[in-house]
């Protein structure tokens, strides 16, 4: 039997963590699947108004981060220096735009346009003091049961 739904959990708020859920959600919607993304903990950052294109990449504890200059190894501990997160984010943004990858805000708009359900986790909104009006319109607020009820019906489920 073919799955007709994609149920995604987005729990992280760094730029590199925000791409996979939005790419897979929009691609699945284009494949005529129903899609929901449950945004919880730092994943809620993706839904904050005006925030999607400002998410950052953490250079520290990220040994897979490509080196700024090929062949010259920069120790990962350099990432603790002030300003290194901005440097890593700037570098990554440069690579992404050179490769013509869509911005996160564009993917989010596409997701809304393609009727992807964007579910913000009520409990973590309370924990982190996030108000509904800080988040983009066209989201809904729900809890674990909201997501599980959706995912329990012929869904592929992915967590990021």
């Amino acid at each position: 039997m073919e799955a007709k739904r994609l149920a995604i959990i987005a729990a992280h708020g760094s730029m590199d963590a925000a791409y996979p859920p939005l790419i897979l959600a929009t691609a699945a919607a284009a494949m005529d699947m129903e899609v929901a993304i449950f945004f919880t903990f730092f994943g809620l950052e993706i839904l904050k108004k005006g925030k999607a294109d400002k998410l950052q990449v953490a250079p520290i504890a990220n040994p897979a981060m490509p080196q700024p200059v090929p062949g010259i190894s920069v120790p990962n501990i350099i990432g603790v220096l002030p300003g290194m997160t901005a440097v890593a984010t700037g570098m990554m943004n440069g690579w992404m735009s050179k490769a013509n990858v869509a911005k996160l805000s564009e993917l989010l708009e596409m997701a809304v346009e393609m009727n992807v359900r964007l579910i913000a986790c009520q409990m973590t909104m309370d924990v982190m003091g996030i108000k509904k009006d800080e988040l983009i319109d066209s989201i809904e607020i729900g809890g674990a049961a909201t997501f599980l009820e959706y995912a329990s019906k012929d869904a592929i489920s992915l967590s990021f």
């Binding site: 790419i23 929009t26 691609a27 284009a30 494949m31 005529d32 013509n100 990858v101 869509a102 393609m114």
Partner: protein
């Protein structure tokens, strides 16, 4: 290779998943049996268009490569 087509879509320069998203939008606007010619430069577009047509039921009538361009003819189901 030339095929007849009813609409043309240029996705040159776009990266995954945009060619598929734009193709979906364009095919939605066609009538059943009409053909979309889509051009992409993303090498991943070949397996992706094949997978997309397999999943959605639209027909990949033919595809070809011309230099760095991938050309697809997709018939709406």
């Amino acid at each position: 290779m030339s095929e007849k087509f009813d609409q043309e879509l240029d996705c040159s320069g776009l990266a995954c998943p945009m060619p598929i998203l734009k193709t979906k939008k364009a095919v939605d606007g066609l009538n059943s049996g009409e053909v979309l010619k889509m051009t992409a430069t993303d090498p991943g577009s070949l397996p992706d268009v094949q997978a997309w047509t397999a999943k959605t039921g639209h027909e990949l009538v033919s595809h070809a490569q011309d230099g760095d361009k991938f050309i697809f003819y997709i018939k709406k189901k």
